[in-house]
């Protein structure tokens, strides 16, 4: 199993007045090469679950093993290193740096890996070609369209060739056409052997034929109906 979670809980601001229990005892297994959708309304905890799978922070309690590494007692340094190598993240609002060019945005994850400028350029150009955005390579990100931004975000998530791709509400700000396009790209990634986990409550996502399994989440727990 590539992703294994056992009785995972996450509490924000533990012990304080604004304590929030985002996840309660979630257990989950995802095999390599699977394409899974975490389905639930906003506030259900799916973003938190995705963040734990994405090695952004460890769970408050419970077991979490991602790509062979136990997260629970991992210091932040190693968490980051692991994330660098294993995870490609696509955000809800893409979170692309507007002043950087498309090429520079895509190559951003490679900087701390000590990849040379030549190699960074090569990889970025390969991905831009694959996603048909090569013509925008030198444009600042603030000057490109929503659809192109989406593909930049995907390219950036792929640049370090991670085994796991995570997407958090990727179609929230896209029209139908772009949403369909997005899912086609995700399906292609799955066929290429990546493990894809998408958190979304958009039917265009969870009803897509490439999605093998839907995991419903509500109030921080998984509901198996």
């Amino acid at each position: 199993m590539l992703i294994e979670l056992g009785e995972v809980s996450k509490i924000y601001n533990q012990g304080q007045a604004n304590e929030v229990r985002a996840l309660r005892g979630v257990s989950l297994e995802i095999a390599a090469g699977a394409m899974v959708c975490l389905k639930g309304p906003s506030g259900s905890g799916k973003s938190t679950l995705l963040a734990i799978i994405g090695c952004i922070f460890p769970p408050t309690s419970g077991r979490a093993a991602i790509a062979g590494r136990q997260l629970a007692r991992l210091p932040d340094r190693f968490l980051t290193l692991h994330r660098r190598e294993s995870i490609g993240f696509i955000f809800q609002r893409f979170n692309v740096l507007p002043e950087l060019t498309v090429r520079d945005n895509i190559a951003l994850p490679l900087l701390p890996l000590g990849v040379s400028p030549k190699e960074r350029r090569r990889r970025a150009e390969e991905l831009m070609a694959r996603l048909a955005i090569s013509h925008r390579a030198s444009f600042p990100a603030r000057q490109i369209s929503g659809g192109e931004l989406q593909r930049v975000a995907i390219a950036r998530a792929l640049v370090n060739d991670p085994p796991i791709i995570l997407a958090d509400e990727p179609t929230a700000h896209l029209d139908t056409g772009l949403s369909r396009e997005f899912m086609e790209i995700m399906a292609g990634l799955r066929r290429a052997g990546k493990t894809v986990v998408i958190a979304s409550h958009d039917p265009l996502v969870f009803e897509h034929p490439a999605v093998e399994r839907i995991i419903p989440i509500k109030d921080g727990t998984i509901h198996v109906s």
Partner: protein
């Protein structure tokens, strides 16, 4: 290149492009910083150059100078005092001088008039490099003039000029020579003449002099002999060579009014810069940091990034400021400070200063400028680097 070295260069590249993206702000900070360093460094170089020049030039200033004091002010000294000095063991010779200031009302300039008894001064006569045909004693009615006096009185065209005595009668002088241009810093306002001419010009009585120069045989005995002179001539002020030289080592300094202004301005500018840096992270900066962290940048990498950004700005500012200060003092004669340096002086010498900065001086300025700025950057950078990565989520 190893990956870890390549990573450092990558972070440096990112820092540079990050500064370039905010070039207006970065350039402003750089220029302000450079201006502050320019100010401090200029003051330091100028005062150091003047101190050093005086140290070199005044190395052979008279060993002891004796002045008569009355009611706390300087007065003319009786020539009879010379007799008491000759009896003191170790005194080689005593030379009286009549000197003072002549105010030229037409040009509003102060000249320093020096009347010397050339027979009694060491070396006996003016040195050879004096411009003009004179190498011998000036003689009655002759003067050797400094560059500013020549210019002010137009002495290049005419060899004879007159000055007013106190009763407004005129005394005529002949220009026998000019001091060389490289001596401007010590001679530019001088009119050197025979002691009797000066006496006549200023109506100083025959039995008085402005002060006495005492030359001793053994340099190590200056202090002892000075004390003996003070005992022998109560009511006089006895100045030794070390005291005169010391004046010039401390006459410029951070405790002078101007030095304080430079320092306070610099401190104020730094406080503003540091406050700006520390006053928190813009939302863009927080967002950028969060995104970088999610993409795999560690806290240490973010800190390195911010450190490089600050070092580039402050390092460049330092280099520009120091270079500018050097050009200002060594080639511009410190022209920005000249109004304060010369004040209301009408006669303006070329100072011909060549400062000699030691590495210690540069390091001192560096530690008072770049290091505080870096420190003021690291702390907020630390705070910003600990922005949690998950704040990039959820839009």
């Amino acid at each position: 290149m190893t990956p870890s070295l390549e990573k450092q260069f990558n972070i440096l590249d990112y820092a540079l492009s990050s500064l370039w993206r905010r070039k207006l702000k970065a350039l402003t900070v750089l220029l302000v910083f450079a201006a502050v360093i320019f100010l401090i460094a200029s003051f330091h170089l100028l005062s150091q150059a003047l101190s050093e020049k005086s140290r070199l030039l005044l190395a052979r200033t008279p060993e002891i100078t004796v002045q008569q004091m009355s009611a706390g002010r300087q007065e003319a000294i009786n020539l009879a005092s010379m007799e008491k000095l000759k009896g003191i063991f170790g005194v080689r010779r005593v030379a009286p001088r009549v000197w003072g200031y002549y105010f030229d009302e037409v040009h509003l300039a102060n000249y320093t008039v020096m009347g010397l008894d050339f027979a009694r001064m060491p070396e006996g006569s003016l040195p050879a490099p004096v411009k003009g045909e004179i190498a011998e004693a000036v003689g009655q009615g002759g003067v050797v003039a400094g560059a500013s006096v020549v210019k002010s009185l137009g002495l290049a065209e005419r060899g004879i000029f007159s000055l007013f005595r106190p009763d407004l009668t005129l005394k005529a002088f002949t220009v026998k020579g000019e001091f060389p241009p490289e001596s401007e810093i010590i001679t530019h306002d001088l009119l050197v003449m025979d002691i009797e001419d000066a006496r006549d010009l200023f109506f100083i009585p025959a039995d008085k002099a402005s002060d006495l120069c005492v030359f001793v045989a053994n340099q190590g005995e200056i202090g002892t002999i000075a004390r003996k002179i003070a005992d022998a001539l109560p009511g006089t002020r006895v100045l030794t060579r070390p005291q005169i030289q010391k004046t010039y080592q401390v006459v410029f300094g951070w405790r002078s009014g101007f030095g304080s202004i430079c320092l306070l301005t610099a401190l104020a500018a730094f406080t503003i810069l540091a406050w700006d840096k520390a006053s928190g992270l813009s939302p863009e900066e927080r967002r950028e940091t969060a995104i970088l962290k999610v993409l795999g940048w560690q806290t240490a990498d973010i800190l390195t990034l911010r450190f490089w950004e600050s070092l580039i700005v402050s390092g460049l500012a330092f280099l520009l400021g120091i270079t500018g200060a050097w050009l200002h003092v060594a080639y511009g004669d410190g022209f920005l400070f000249r109004p304060v340096l010369l004040g209301w002086s009408v006669l303006k010498p070329g100072l011909g200063l060549v400062p000699d900065p030691k590495l210690a001086d540069l390091l001192l300025i560096f530690s008072f400028s770049v290091l505080p700025y870096l420190a003021a950057t690291v702390i907020p950078a630390w705070r910003s680097a600990t922005v949690p990565a998950d704040s990039a989520l959820g839009g």
